[in-house]
């Protein structure tokens, strides 16, 4: 199952859960599942970047999440 890891500002809203495992086919399915489990994450999810198997996405949508994928949420970077 894919490993999903949250940053500190998510953990505060998930009741202390920092990571969990789940089978989802893509990022959209993951977001739907997260919003179902923790509705209070919805706003944060829109403003967060995500790394899927080492690749950082600012606007992930249908990217594939495999059963052995690692998913990390993180602050967006834009730079100067």
């Amino acid at each position: 199952m894919a490993r999903i890891v949250f940053p500190d500002n998510f953990v505060a809203l998930t009741g202390g859960e920092r990571e969990f495992n789940i089978d989802v086919g893509d990022y959209r399915a993951l977001v739907m599942e997260l919003k179902k489990r923790w509705p209070q994450l919805a706003g944060l999810l829109e403003k967060t970047a995500v790394a899927i198997d080492g690749q950082i996405y600012q606007d992930a949508f249908l990217e594939t999440i495999n059963t052995d994928s690692e998913v990390f949420f993180m602050a967006r970077i834009e730079g100067g």
Binding site: D8, N9, A51, G54, I56, Q58, F72, I77, G79, G80
Partner: protein, 750 residues
């Protein structure tokens, strides 16, 4: 490491296409546009660093002969919510208040009103006729005291963003943390522990061109804005949001730009100019003086950082624990998160924690400045590592190699690194002649690492084939570092033609597709990717046209060295068709030949660096002399090597200036005392030796040509490299910047 690829165009350094115009004065910058009937806008700025605005009376200004419009905060529509992306971004409502104060002036120089008049002199004089009643308040000027519970509040409605809303407001807007492993276990395993506090001052991007724009809005509310900007699409969007306008009514045109470095990714004058133009019915030009640039546009955060790091006698880092306070200025948005994500990035750490704070103070709102947050945090950690290297009698490069991140290392922010070039940079430094030569007598040699993530984001590109087969590339990324030449090189390489057959143009918001800002070291990567894909679109179309001309199927032709040829095994007695041939027959085969692409580019590759420098210090005067400076950086693939070197040298010069001299000096009333280049001392050519560069190329597998962004990493390492060199030269650790002569002497006397 991948085998080097042989390119025909990429990797050459043709003369920059904008060079002649820029050195002859022909290039059109933000302040150069003159329109018929144009009038001039000027801004009234707060004389107080912190004050309630009790009333503003514009009638005196409007009564001045020649004044055609006057505005203040009350003239702006109210806008709520919405985040503005990027470091220093904040919210739309904060940006609206920064562009024009509402109920409070929050820093000395904060815009409180603006007028437009037939001459700039009349507009300036009319400012004196505006009556503003202020209630001065005590300013909050120190980041540590701003964090205290009993501090005066910059914003009485600011509550630190925590899961449970605090009982009381605070000057702390945001808190960020990263952590992994077991700190106690890590420190217990350490043979030595270094623990220090480091200060980095607030500093300005120092672009040579002040902000400037011309807005020309007609009676229907539609019109155009000419401005110097890193992102005209972003400026259009922000201006429309702040003024509640339809962005389709505004055309934004990017002028040539005299530097931005992140500071021109956010609007200041543009909404004012649009409003004044709409009110007066005339085009309105607004330009900032250098003093206004310093007082009222975003510098980057000053910081206070506390670092504790434990290492074994072999130099292996066992634990790192850090705390950093960032000055945000008058509104939230300090780059605390990218700062802490960068801090330990070059190293493979098992046990670490870093906590950072985004803190309001009565100073100008910070904006992005080249790798925002990273120079400040990495200064602290790289200095601590240098002190450890001395304590362990270890070469500082060797200490970094013991801990170096590589492909597969888990980054501090979570994911594993794809192929990266940090070890290659370390090896290049170790073997560089500037490193193998002895340190000059009386000097110290400082080493430091740098890092930036780089980003992709959205870009569009169109390719038009001219009637003679030459190529026009149109894209929407303002050229702040040579991107037009890089686009031409990538187009030429993809099409298999000569560089001189390609031209590139930055289109305005009505003539090309959307592009995110030129920033984040994204342009060569992301807009380049769009250009490559647009060229591939052209190739597909050319093959179709040639197949039509030859009466064969599309899959029976190939593209080779700028021509369509029959595929192997296809028996066609034909002459290969060049772009000129295809363009010549285009009317018969379907019309003009074009290609286009739009991307949200993924897979931006991080860029690591190693810098080292030899610096001598005069113990009598505290004056420093930079004897040599070497910058080594992974560029992935250097599309235009001379431009890459320019980025490395420019970033190094900025970092050296920040380390040695640059700082905002405020008096007790919060007024900046050195708001000009005479007293805000950035390096000039005579201050620095030639900065030697060495480009490492570990291609980024996610880009067709292996590109990594290079624009931001160069500023990260110099702060610590200089600090380490000076500390070694004087034989004493000096932790606070800048290392100006009086500060060095004070540290030596302490």
């Amino acid at each position: 490491m991948a085998e080097a690829v042989e390119y025909k165009q990429i990797g050459t350094s043709p003369i920059r296409p904008d060079g002649v115009d820029k050195v002859t004065g022909r290039a059109q910058f933000g302040a150069d546009l003159v329109l018929p009937n144009m009038i001039h806008g000027q801004v009234l700025r707060s004389p107080h660093a912190h004050a309630r605005i009790k009333s503003i009376d514009l009638s005196g200004a409007m009564a001045v002969d020649g004044v055609l419009a006057a505005i203040c905060g009350d003239d702006f529509p109210s806008v709520e919510g919405g985040e503005i992306g990027g470091e220093g971004g904040g919210t739309v409502s904060d940006l609206a208040k920064n562009v024009m104060a509402r109920d409070k002036a929050l820093y000395h120089g904060h815009a409180v009103a603006a007028v437009a008049a037939v001459t700039a002199e009349i507009a300036t004089a009319a400012l004196d006729a505006i009556k503003v009643e202020y209630e001065p308040l005590p300013p909050v000027l120190d980041v540590i005291s701003a964090m205290a519970e009993d501090s005066v509040l910059v914003d009485e409605n600011n509550y630190t963003k925590l899961p449970e809303k605090p009982d009381n407001p605070s000057n702390i807007a945001n808190v960020g943390t990263l952590a992994r492993g077991d700190l106690d276990k890590g420190f217990a395993a350490a043979d030595i522990v270094i623990e220090r506090e480091y200060k980095v001052p607030m500093a300005h991007q120092g672009y040579i061109e002040p902000h400037a724009c011309v807005a020309n809005i007609d009676e229907t509310g539609r019109g155009s804005v000419w401005c110097c900007t890193q992102g005209h699409f972003e400026f259009r969007s922000l201006t429309a949001k702040l003024l509640n306008k339809d962005l389709a009514d505004l055309k934004f045109i990017a002028s040539e730009i005299g530097g931005g470095f992140g500071g021109k990714t956010v609007v200041y004058l543009e909404p004012l100019a649009v409003m004044l133009s709409e009110m007066s019915g005339r085009p309105v030009k607004m330009t900032m003086t250098r003093e206004e640039v310093f007082r009222a546009t975003g510098p980057t955060s000053g910081t206070v950082a506390r670092v504790k790091v434990g290492l074994t006698n072999d130099g292996k880092i066992t634990a790192a624990d850090s705390w950093i306070a960032f000055e945000a200025g008058a509104f939230e948005g300090a780059p605390h998160m990218p700062g802490i994500m960068s801090m330990y990035a070059p190293y493979d750490l098992e046990n670490f924690k870093v906590e950072a704070f985004d803190v309001l103070v009565n100073k100008p709102k910070v904006a992005a400045y080249r790798a925002p947050g990273a120079p400040q945090t990495m200064h602290a950690f790289e200095c601590a590592l240098d002190e450890a290297a001395i304590a362990l009698d270890m070469d500082p490069l060797d200490l970094r190699m013991v801990n170096a991140a590589d492909e597969g290392t888990r980054a501090p922010y979570g994911p594993k690194f794809p192929p990266i070039g940090f070890k290659a940079c370390l090896e290049a430094a170790k073997n560089h002649p500037n490193y193998t030569k002895p340190v000059p007598a009386g000097a110290g040699r400082g080493v430091a690492a740098g890092f930036w993530f780089n980003i992709g984001m959205q870009s569009s590109a169109e390719i038009n084939i001219n009637e003679n087969g030459t190529v026009m590339v149109i894209e929407g990324s303002p050229d702040i570092g040579g991107s037009r030449a890089s686009m031409c090189l990538m187009a030429a390489e993809t099409l298999g033609i000569e560089y001189d057959s390609v031209r590139a143009q930055v289109g305005d918001t009505e003539s090309t597709g959307f592009c995110n800002v030129t920033g984040g070291s994204r342009t060569t990567f992301a807009t380049g990717m769009a250009v490559v894909q647009a060229c591939e679109d052209v190739i597909a179309e050319c093959k179709k046209r040639a197949a039509m001309s030859w009466g064969v199927d599309d899959d029976q032709v190939e593209w080779q060295d700028g021509q369509v040829v029959p595929a192997p095994g296809v028996n066609a007695d034909v002459t290969p068709m060049s772009l000129a041939d295809l363009a010549g027959s285009a009317a018969k085969t379907g019309g003009p030949i074009q290609g286009r692409a739009s991307v949200n580019a993924q897979g931006a590759g991080a860029s690591f660096s190693i810098n080292f420098t030899d610096i001598a210090v005069d113990p009598e005067t505290g004056k420093t002399e930079v004897l040599s400076y070497t910058a080594i950086q992974d560029a992935g693939t250097a599309i235009h090597p001379a431009y890459v070197e320019g980025q490395m040298q420019g970033g190094a010069a900025q970092g050296i200036g920040w380390a040695l001299n640059e700082e905002y000096i405020f008096d007790d009333d919060g007024v900046m005392e050195n708001a000009g280049f005479l007293d805000y001392r950035i390096p000039v050519a005579s201050d620095l030796p030639m900065i030697d560069t060495y480009i490492v190329e570990v291609p980024n597998p996610s880009h067709p040509y292996g590109v990594r962004g290079v624009g931001e990493t160069p500023i990260v390492a110099p702060l610590a490299a200089v600090s380490n060199a000076v500390s070694r030269a004087v034989g004493k650790r000096i932790c606070d910047l800048p290392l100006s002569p009086p500060n060095i002497l004070a540290a030596l006397d302490d």
